[in-house]
Each structure stands twice: as structure tokens, then as C-alpha cells.
Symmetry: C2
Subunit: 178 residues, 2 copies
Amino acid sequence: MDRRTAILDSAERRARKGGYYGFSFRDIAEDVGVKSASVHYHFPTKEALVEALGERYLERAKEALGNPADHPGVEGVQRVADLFLTANETDDLMCLCGIFGAELAALPAAIQPKIAAYFDYLTEWLTAALGVGAEPAHAQAVVAALEGGLILSRTKDDPAVLRTIVQLLQTGQKVRLS
Amino acid sequence: MDRRTAILDSAERRARKGGYYGFSFRDIAEDVGVKSASVHYHFPTKEALVEALGERYLERAKEALGNPADHPGVEGVQRVADLFLTANETDDLMCLCGIFGAELAALPAAIQPKIAAYFDYLTEWLTAALGVGAEPAHAQAVVAALEGGLILSRTKDDPAVLRTIVQLLQTGQKVRLS
DNA sequence: GTCTATAATTTGATAGAC
DNA sequence: GTCTATCAAATTATAGAC
């Protein structure tokens, strides 16, 4: 693996644990096995590093999701949900854009459009998967429920929390609980 | 206002902007108009400070929500949603437990039960408001959708995002979008 | 590309005077 | 309770040798 990728891997993992201020260039340098000055060679500033992080995160989601037309209806919901279920159960990591979105007010301004682009892509992909007549607002609500569900599930240290929410989203239970 | 309260107010505001690592004792001292050593007098460690923050945050939610029996059905959903709508539109702040929940893996362990208690309380309160036959899992999904909706709304810098999600939750539109 | 060395600043926390 | 003073450590970032 090339060094730039190793740096991004380390940074992503740490950012998804503790957020923007929760990791340092030295943390990454130790993970990768170099000195912090070498990390600065590849990414001159922390802002540049997390921008690259956000871009890669979106590209990976695009690759993982594929063509929405190939996953119509409920299968599309499952596919988006799997991004969050894998983060939760396989990787034990928060969503990068979820944690950066929560911290947004204290982050370098250049990061905001990268995070927004991620949420927009998931929403648009899901709207397309659900087909003609689907409301983007509904797709956005599903993305929000998954993002919040990941936070609740991790806080309670219980994967069943997110799984149950995904199930409700799939089976079309009413959101209104009355 | 007594000093302890002023310190908690400053810390809460800053924590809800940038998370646990996004503020310092000196930041708070400057907000309050004292020296950082005085902040340490009231809260010896940062961990003690954020624990107090979490406890106060829950107590305030309890006061704001009142008795669930007084707000049956959809009115209960509106009352919980108002906590998030106020954070978003009036205060322009993230939910304290949402941002700490996202950063949880990198926070002092003693904070986790405080955050979990908040989500549990909202879920139990809403389950009670929805009355006999209501599924706690549905109430939890509503809390998750609100927490995630707050993140998406702030990221897009558009209050309508959260408002629309709240509307879907109230009108009982299906979560399944197929 | 990676290193050593270092600058300039900030961090959480403490000792002790008042 | 608040202050001055300080500590030890960590932070982002840069200069320059190799």
C-alpha cells in the first residue's frame, strides 16, 4: 500500500473515533511508522488532510452503492443501510460525515461542502432507487434515521438498536407512533 | 448568575459547537471573565466538567418535557421534536448528547452512561406519551431520526431539512419509501 | 520522501499567595 | 474563590540536511 493511502486510512479511522480534534499528525505518523514531518509532506495542513478524507469517503460510497437502478425499492434501502451497519458492526466506527457534521460549527469552512455532498449523494441515490414518485424528503429522512441510529446504537453499545431501526425503515412501519 | 452556572453555560455552548476536544479551560475562562485556574476550582478535571454537563442536560430535558401523560399521541412527538428544533433554529447548537455520542469512542468512559441516559429518557418519555400499545422501538427510531436530522440540517445550513423530517414523523408518512 | 530539529502556541492541571 | 506563576506535555507547522 502506498504511503498516502496508509495515511488516509489511519486518519479516517481516528477521525471516525474521536472527530477532527481527536487525532494529531503524530498519532497518524505512529500508526503509519514514519515521523510527523513526513505526514505533512503528503498533506501540508490538517485541513487539506480532512478534505481528502471527505472526498475519498464519498467516492467509496459511490463504488459501494453502484447504480441505483440495479437496486429498486426496498433493496435500495437495504443497500444504504448496509453502509451504516458495516460501520457499526464490522468496523466499530462512526460515519465520517456524521461526526464531522456534528462538529461542523468548529471545523475549517472548506470541509462543509464535502460533508454536505455525502448526504446529498445518499439522498439522491436512494430517491433514484425508490423510483418514480419517490419523495426526496423521504429518502433524506431515512438517511437521517440511519445516521442518528448509528449514534444511538454506539452509545448504547448495542448493534440491535441500529438493526431494529433499519428493520422499521424496510418494513414500512409508520414513523408516526400514535 | 452564580459562577458555576456561568461555567456550565459556556462549556455547554462550546461543547455543542465543537465537541469534547473542541474547547479548553482557557476558552471557558475567557467567556466567563476569570482565569483558567478558577475554572479548575469549580471543576477539577475536564472529565468532571462534562459529566456535570451531561447531568444538567438531562435534567433540563426532563423539565422541558414535563409529564408524558399530559401530551398524548402526536403532541408528544411534537414536544420531543421541539427540543431539536429549538437547538437548530433558536440556539444554532448541536445536541450535546448527539455530538458526544458521535465522539464516544474517544471520550472518558465515565461520560458514556450520561449520554445513554439521555437517549433512554427521550425514548421512554415518548413511548409513554404514545400510550398503551406503543413500541419503544418506534420511539427510539423517532429520536434517532431527530438526532440525525439535526446533523443533516446543520450541515446543509437549512432549517427546513429538520422541519420536513419532523413533519414526516408527525403525519405518519411511511418510513418505507417504496 | 523521510529525517532531525525546532519554532510558536495551546493544552490540562497544580502550587501557593491573597 | 480567584489570582499569578508555572509545569510538562502535546499541538500544527516549517527549515534544511540527507
